[in-house]
Symmetry: C2
Subunit: 232 residues, 2 copies
DNA sequence: TTATTAATTGTCGTTTTGACAATTAATAAT
DNA sequence: ATTATTAATTGTCAAAACGACAATTAATAA
């Protein structure tokens, strides 16, 4: 029987930075950690990779368990593997960022876990290197969203261009001209205009749009350039 | 004493896709695997992550050991963690891609390891999921190189624009107009023109350029658009 | 001296960008 | 009913970038 003799073995975990958008600001979903050490401190949603699952599987499982949501947008970020990042025992963690519709979540909230949304800029102190993970995730989200149409994942099925606009500004931490923005976003051909209007935000009301799912699937990899003068 | 009871532990490895450029084609550096299983089969350069190093450290160590090179351009790609990807024992591997100056390597070749350059399109069958890693690395290289000035890492300190041009075409698997290319690449301000010419390739000769290292360091994150009509 | 070859610079119409103005569709105030 | 107000949407336009293609240049070989 062949074996890799004497090589050290480690724990492998996943941690998810879950982004949501409340209509005004970017938020992240945090949970109170349920095990020692640092029990009851705020942390990212995470868990160990089980023997019969890949890290991707594990991240999906953790998200399902803690939010009730399936099939969410999930992207592998990077591995966090400093030898002593976990004080108890060496644990390498694969960082993921997830984009979810914040309203969908609230409907399915599972109270087994003490979870809470925080404004990205007003988050509490996090355990271990989780704060760095959030910083990295925010950076990667910005980068990716500037080039690929992924922010839709944080909006309801029906959304307005002003909503999208605020979300883009929020993610990129910059002002974008509304007039140029709507022209650009509609010219992508990814949006289908609906007859209905959203009148909650203004007198005139803004038309609802929905994603052209076929084109979105085909163009999820396509390059856009929705943020002018982008600095990454 | 706190501990994470009964969680499974795994081996963690790194594997490096080492890219080089011989002046005409993109190549990758492969080694004959030195341990069972699959001993003597071609594989990527890799090794297990030691107890006192991060995966990044491990990748650098492996590269140093097998090529003699230090400080090479190295970028974390993704984790490969299917439960049975290694038939002997569960091993998760962090994939990296590296860009090196192929000539620098040849000078320092370490014969302890049977290593060989292969044309990217004529590589042998590789062990485990290493072929998929190469495919992923190629894709990521293309993506990254379209937006960031990283291909310089594969050229000598002094290089000509025609050399750069061929490299860009090779990486992106497309034809790029020489005239538009040289205008674009010089307009980045990243290149410093030298007095000397390379006369090996043509009668007229092509001027050598070198990188403006200050600007390169500042602009390594900057967006370029060197490949027209890019499809990723 | 001339032909040849590859590098380099130039031209120009089209498209994209982004700053900014004008119009429109609704509601609230008079 | 009319007017003011507000936010959404459509328009305008000059500057920049893009990309197809031509012309020039610097060398060597014939």
């Amino acid at each position: 029987m062949i074996e890799y003799s004497r090589q050290p073995h480690y724990l492998v975990a996943v941690d998810c930075i879950v982004f949501g958008f409340d209509g005004e600001h970017l938020k992240i979903l945090l949970v109170k950690r349920g095990l020692e050490p640092e029990i009851n401190k705020w942390s990212l949603m995470g868990g160990f990779v089980g023997p019969d699952e890949s890290p991707d599987d594990a991240a999906n499982r953790v998200l399902k368990k803690m939010t009730g949501l399936e099939g969410v947008y999930l992207e592998q970020m990077q591995i966090y593997g400093e030898p002593h990042r976990d004080p108890i025992e060496r644990t390498l963690s694969v960082g993921y960022f997830a984009l979810i519709d914040i309203h969908k979540y609230e409907a399915q909230l599972n109270d087994d876990y003490e979870a809470e949304w925080f404004l990205i800029n007003e988050r509490p102190k996090l355990i271990f290197d989780h704060n760095q993970m959030v910083i990295d995730a925010r950076k990667k989200l910005r980068y990716k969203a500037a080039l690929h149409p992924i922010l839709f994942e944080m909006l309801p099925k029906k959304f307005t261009i002003p909503q999208l606009h605020i979300l883009f500004e929020e993610v990129n931490d910059t002002k974008i001209d509304t007039r140029n923005f709507s022209r650009k976003i509609t010219s992508t051909g990814l949006l289908i205009k609906l007859a209905e209007k959203d009148r909650t935000g203004s007198k005139k009301g803004a038309f609802y749009f929905k994603l052209d799912k076929k084109k979105y699937a085909a163009n999820a990899q396509a390059f856009l350039n929705l943020v002018p003068n982008l600095k990454v």
